[in-house]
């Protein structure tokens, strides 16, 4: 009973410390508003504003029609260049794609001689290159088909394929990137806030002061978890409802309550990691580096950037230990697929389990870290 009171009062102290620091508050607001907005609108469609050039050696109606079929927002206005310019232009990074239409293209199509169109792709921009390449191929095929259907008989396909996207029928890119951005910032801020809160106490000697009072390590750690958790949860909720749902118009398919519960559990796990790092690091510089080593993999390998199943076999068992991976799966399921507790409980359980491991580890290291620091 007294224990919880201690946790509560210590936590209010944490809240004050953070909220009084204008720089911190400004950064938290910035991270949960502008950064998420900028990231979600930055990548609006899967292929966007790609630079393209056409080498037209045919100068026919069909080749011009092909060139005109590339238009914004997917592609920039195509440039017409000569075949000798291709290498240099691509080296200079002026174009990501160059389509080379051979001489006699239209004639060959008309005569059914299957001419070859070459597409040069800058393959160093991997995702754009592969998506763009299939876009370009479709566009050229459609133009050719259209041209041929006017000239010859209509094409008879034996089977028609219809592709439909579930959960995001129009494939609006900002939905996914907004949610990824929100989750990434959630991870980053929680870890830094809690870890730094602990480290600041240690650097200022206030932790010794706490340890000679009738307080347990559990109470000290727990107070930091809840106080920083409340700050992040509040900004997360505001950002979710006002920015993601409101301004960016992302529909939330599942239960908001479930999302909030899951986020709270995840905050516990992330805060535990922050505290854990804070107990290992001796100085702020060490903490900063350790934190980078944890945050960057958490951002890149949790499934927001590379789907888990596409990760190499070696990495997959390692990323299982990242609570963010399970949270990412949970949040995507609830927000986009409308999953209920019956579907996402394994993720929630794993998050709590991992969080408890980190939390226990930091409790064990806590007192040790204080005695060694002097």
């Amino acid at each position: 009973m007294w224990g919880w009171a201690n946790i509560f009062w210590l936590g209010t102290k944490e809240l004050r410390s953070v909220l009084l620091d204008t720089v911190m508050v400004a950064l938290i607001v910035w991270a949960f508003s502008f950064q998420i907005y900028a990231r979600s609108v930055a990548i609006s469609e899967s292929v966007n504003n790609a630079s393209i050039a056409i080498v037209d050696e045919d100068h026919s109606n069909l080749s011009r029609a092909v060139a005109n079929a590339f238009f914004p927002p997917y592609f920039k206005e195509p440039h017409l260049i000569s075949s000798t310019e291709v290498d240099e232009a691509m080296n200079q990074d002026r174009f990501m794609f160059v389509v080379v239409i051979p001489p006699g293209f239209e004639r060959d199509i008309r005569e059914g001689r299957q001419p070859t169109v070459q597409i040069d792709i800058d393959a160093t921009a991997v995702t754009q290159a592969s998506l763009g390449s299939s876009y370009i191929q479709n566009i050229i095929r459609n133009e050719v088909d259209y041209f041929a259907s006017r000239a010859n008989e209509s094409t008879a396909y034996p089977v028609i394929l219809v592709q439909r996207r579930a959960f995001n029928p129009n494939g609006t890119g900002s939905w996914f990137s907004a949610v990824s951005a929100l989750l990434d910032n959630l991870t980053i801020l929680t870890i830094i806030l809690t870890g730094a809160a602990l480290l600041r106490e240690r650097e200022h000697g206030t932790i010794e002061h706490l340890l000679v009072m009738p307080l347990t390590s559990f109470q000290i750690v727990m107070s930091k978890v809840w106080a920083n958790g409340v700050i992040i949860l509040t900004t997360f909720s505001l950002s979710m409802w006002l920015l993601v749902e409101g301004l960016l118009d992302v529909p939330i398919a599942g239960s908001r309550l479930l999302l909030l519960v899951g986020t709270t559990l995840y905050l516990f796990a992330a805060a535990a990691i922050g505290i854990f790092l804070g107990t290992i690091a001796r100085t702020m510089a060490q903490f900063a580096l350790l934190m980078m080593m944890v945050i960057i993999p958490m951002m890149l390998l949790s499934g927001g950037m590379t789907p888990i199943e596409s990760q190499p076999e070696v990495i997959q068992p390692l990323t299982w230990f990242l609570p963010s991976r399970h949270y990412m799966a949970f949040a995507q399921a609830v927000i986009f697929r409308g999953a209920n507790l019956g579907i996402v409980w394994p993720q929630l359980l794993t998050i709590v389990g991992l969080g408890s491991i980190f939390f226990t580890a930091s409790l064990i290291l806590f007192r040790r870290s204080i005695t060694i620091s002097k």
Binding site: W9, L10, K13, L20, V23, A38, R39, V41, A42, S46, V47, N49, N91, Q92, P115, T116, D120, I121, A123, T124, V126, L131, S134, D145, T155, A156, V159, I160, L161, R165, A166, F167, G171, W175, A181, I192, A196, L199, R200, E203, G205, H209, V212, P214, T283, M284, Q286, L289, M292, M293, I296, P297, L300, M305, S310, Q311, Q332, I370, T371, K374
Partner: protein, 917 residues
């Protein structure tokens, strides 16, 4: 003499306010030259502010101030006289670099004043011989005792033979022996440099007796000035302490009756504190060596000894903060146990360094602790009121603890330590930095607690008059107890005049003849008189100096090298991250789970589905049986793709009725969904071609045009050729930036930035000097990462290594420059780390072309990416590694990269103040 020489400092109508509170209020004062001038007064009356203003460390807000004939409001004048002033800020070793050895610290200060190596060597030798620091030249400053730190601080101040020496409470927290040595040193120095003026603030009245001229201050104003004798005559007091009290306005004089301490009643009860053979070792070093004592309940037990002799360590062991290496300790008859909350509730502890929450106000701090000790609200309020009144905190209840002057903070710490009315108090130098009036009041309280409430008090102190008030004292030296007994007995045992003499006697006996006694040290100072080189005409002293710049670099480099863990993290950490990211990020979408809903189940439908089974992109899951199951399995993320074959597919196909197959794709991750669409289209097209070929129909009637994609620069189209060269770009920004930012913020937080404020160091020398070592670390990182990319990730470097290296150099200058910029806007290390992380991560990972080229972004993201250096270095790195481009072809990237570093540093220089506010 004072009449015909101009004053060293002329203060006219100077007022200085912090957040609307005037610390110095319309002060007008001429400080005579060539003398030792003392600033006296209680805590928080503006002494430090006056000294800071005279030193040029603080910006003059209003009024006029001339120091050594120069107007301190003008930057040009300030720069001209600043090399003639030396300033030692308040706090033990405040302007020293703890990681650096004694000689390295001194050498650094010599460099700041443009001395050549030979001169520095001779000066260092002379100063350290005179101060007795010579045997400890290689010891890190952080490991020196408090007295030695102050001596080193003084040496650093004297290295350039200043005309004006400003010392802010230089002997606070220093033991009597060191204190005596310190003043002897000053006397010796003044004998060599008779023209040097010294301005000191002090809390010790006995020190003030020895000064030539005194300024008594209170509440930001000057009460009186004059020689010690004049002040005593004017007030009719026989000593300075009472003279000063009489100068104070009525309300502030405190209770001026003599403090009577009733004798301690001997009791047969079990002792409250027992220590037997207490020992604590840190590695090789024995901090406390076999210490034993017993303290009776209600006794006031004093702990004396030079700084670093093990007093604090002993106290920490008693409170359970430090485990014992050997021996045993009992509180209230029970062995000390770190987990014993009940005992902690009965003990009040106050540690030496201020350890309350600086960001909370006085009232909030008190209230928080009352709650943590579970005082009932009514009781808490009453207790807080009593304490606030008792400690004179009434005027400050709404001020944040960090804004209080040192003495006030100590009072607050004390109030907090006794808020729960503990039965035992363990106080580690509670009165350091507290003025005499407040100290007396504090002792009245202690006596009352001890005699009336039988509170056991274990206290360490440097003040002899406080030691005299203890029932028993114990004298420690180098981890051992030298002697223990009643103060009067100790004096008599040595036949000394005072406790101070007795104390010094015991210490010198313990130290033995090995260390230079103070007498000889003074002579050493006089014997080797300094070479009288004019310090002011030295070349390079004014204006930009490369030597000073390299001085800062050298300093920073040593600090970095002394922290191998940080270095290890920086280098090994980026190597590990490179490997994890390069292997972990795969943009090749593979192994997608899919399942089929085959409502037809004919050879034709199986034929269609077999094309998916054979693809390396897809992994088949158990088939789906109904439309509902399809939805559910997509929803539960069991599958990301479902192929639905309608009923009668086979029949329709045979009849040529063109059946429709549906592909359901999980659209949550849009990029992945796009890729899957491409794959599915490909499989479908392949099926069509196969089907038609099987029918003997020429496939060309379907595929009228043959498309031939050529993946340039990366023919196998593997992610690694793109991610491999881009990952170092990410790491070379994030890691140097954060290291740089923390380093600068640390300088601000621990106070060594004062050295930049009060020496001739220019802004650019300071910034670039600190930046160079981190650029070097960045370049080492670059080499490691490049080797890893080439040999481990097997991404060949096809283009110009020279261009890549030059680019890296420019890039690392930019990232460290950004670190500088961030730290100039933040005041604490925590905020610096926070800000750097938030401001660098997103632009570097998302907007710089790591995954998506910047040119294909929209809105704010694209704008940020365009003005972010990582964009150009990523581009350059890919161009040289994968595209195999040469120097000329990447010259645009190089040119743009070259702009960032200087721009960041220049902006930082604009924000960086040469003075405190």
């Amino acid at each position: 003499m004072t009449d015909n020489t101009p004053p060293v400092a002329r203060i006219q109508g100077v007022t200085h306010t912090y957040r609307q509170v005037a610390a110095v209020n319309n002060v007008t004062l001429d400080i005579p030259a060539g003398q030792v001038v003392g600033l006296l007064g209680p805590d928080g009356v503006g002494k430090s502010t006056v000294l800071g203003l005279i030193a040029g460390a603080r910006r003059l807000q209003s009024g006029q101030l001339q120091v050594l004939g120069a107007d301190m409001a003008s930057a040009a004048h300030r720069n001209r006289v600043c090399p003639r002033i030396a300033y030692m800020p308040q706090g033990l070793g405040k302007n020293l670099y703890a990681e650096l050895s004694v000689v390295e610290n001194l050498d650094f200060f010599g460099k700041l004043f443009s001395q050549d190596p030979a001169e520095r060597r001779s000066r260092i030798e002379r100063l350290t011989t005179a101060t007795g620091l010579y045997p400890f030249l290689q010891r890190p400053a952080g490991k020196l005792s408090g007295g030695m730190k102050q001596k080193l601080g003084l040496c650093c101040s004297l290295i350039h033979d200043p005309d004006l020496l400003i010392l802010d409470e230089p002997t606070t927290g220093v033991d009597p022996l060191s204190r005596r040595q310190f003043w002897e040193l000053i006397t010796a120095v003044r004998r060599d440099l008779p023209s040097m003026s010294v301005i000191v603030s002090t809390a010790y009245m006995d020190e003030a007796e020895g000064f030539d001229w005194l300024v008594a201050m209170d509440a930001g104003q000057v009460l009186d000035t004059g020689t010690p004798q004049a002040l005593k005559n004017r007030t009719g007091a026989d000593n300075l302490e009472s003279a000063f009290v009489r100068l104070l306005p009525e309300g502030k004089r405190g209770s001026r009756h003599r403090l009577d301490i009733p004798p301690l009643e001997k009791s047969a009860a079990a002792p409250a504190i027992v220590a037997r053979g207490l020992t604590r070792r840190f590695g090789q070093f024995t901090a406390v060596d076999n210490v034993s004592f017993e303290i009776q309940a209600g006794e006031i037990f004093g702990f004396l000894g030079s700084n670093g002799c093990g007093k604090t360590t002993t106290m920490k062991m008693l409170t359970g903060l430090l485990p014992l290496t050997d021996g045993e300790a009992f509180l209230f008859g029970k062995p000390v146990d770190a987990g014993d909350l009940a005992t902690r509730r009965r003990v009040g502890f106050m540690s030496q360094s201020f350890s309350l929450y600086g960001e909370l106000t006085v009232a909030q701090n008190l209230k928080l602790h009352a709650r943590l000790f579970h005082l009932l609200p009514a009781k808490a309020a009453e207790r807080i009121d009593t304490l606030v009144e008792r400690f004179g905190l009434g005027a400050h209840t709404d001020a944040t603890a960090s804004s209080l002057p040192l003495g006030m903070r100590q009072r607050l710490s004390l109030a907090v330590a006794i808020i729960h009315e503990p039965e035992m108090l363990i106080l580690d130098e509670p009165t350091s930095g507290v003025d005499p009036v407040a100290r007396d009041e504090f002792w009245e309280l202690l006596v009352e607690l001890s005699r009336c409430d039988k509170v056991t008090i274990f206290i360490s102190t440097h003040f002899m008059n406080e030691a005299l008030r203890c029932d028993r004292i114990s004298l420690m030296h180098e981890g051992r107890v030298l002697i223990c007994g009643e103060p009067q007995q100790l004096v008599e045992a040595r036949a000394a005049n005072s406790l101070e003499d007795a104390f010094i006697g015991y210490l010198q006996e313990a130290i033995g003849p090995t260390t230079t006694p103070p007498e000889t040290s003074t002579e050493a100072g006089t014997a080797s008189s300094p070479p009288q080189v004019s310090q002011q005409s030295r070349p390079g002293l004014h204006g930009f100096s490369l030597n000073r710049l390299f001085g800062y670099s050298h300093l920073e480099m040593i600090e970095v090298i002394r922290d191998p863990v940080r270095m290890g993290f920086a280098l090994l950490g980026s190597a590990i991250l490179l490997i994890v990211i390069a292997y972990g990020i795969s943009l090749d979408v593979e192994d997608l789970s899919y399942a089929a809903l085959d409502l037809d189940a004919t050879p034709e439908s199986r034929q269609y589905l077999s094309n998916f089974q054979g693809s390396r992109y897809f992994v088949e899951q158990p088939p789906i049986h109904s439309k509902e199951e399809l939805d559910r399995r997509l929803q539960s993320n069991d599958i990301t793709l479902a192929i639905e074959i309608p009923p009668y597919f086979g029949r329709a196909l045979r009849r040529g009725d063109t059946p429709t197959v549906s592909a359901w794709i999980d659209g949550a991750n849009t990029t992945r969904a796009g890729t899957i669409e491409g794959y599915v289209t490909g499989v479908h097209a392949y099926y069509l071609a196969q089907y038609l070929a099987g029918k003997g129909i020429d496939a060309s009637s379907i595929t009228r045009v043959s498309l031939e994609p050529r993946y340039r620069y990366n023919p196998s189209f593997e992610t690694i050729y793109s991610i491999g060269p881009k990952t170092p770009a990410m790491l070379l920004l994030l890691i140097p930036a954060i290291l740089m930012a923390v380093s600068m913020a640390r300088e601000k937080e621990i106070g060594t930035i004062t050295n930049f404020h009060v020496t001739p160091t220019t802004r650019l020398e300071f910034l670039i000097g600190k930046q160079l070592p981190y650029i070097a670390i960045g370049m080492v990182n670059f080499v490691i990462l490049t080797l890893l990319v080439v040999f481990l990730l097997q991404v060949p470097l096809k283009g110009s290594l020279l261009a890549l290296s030059l680019g890296a150099l420019l890039y690392v200058s930019a990232s460290t420059g950004f670190g500088l910029l961030v730290s100039s806007l933040t005041n604490s290390q925590v905020a610096a780390v926070f800000a750097t992380t938030i401001l660098t991560l997103l632009p570097t990972i998302m907007f710089s072309g790591f995954i998506q080229p910047t040119s294909t972004l929209e809105g704010g993201g694209r704008l940020i990416g365009t003005v972010w250096p990582a964009t150009y270095y990523m581009h350059l790195s890919v161009a040289t590694f994968t595209k195999g481009l040469g120097f000329l072809e990447v010259s645009r990237d190089l040119a743009l990269l070259a702009l960032f570093g200087p721009a960041f540093v220049a902006t930082t220089a604009l924000f960086l103040r040469k003075q405190e506010t």
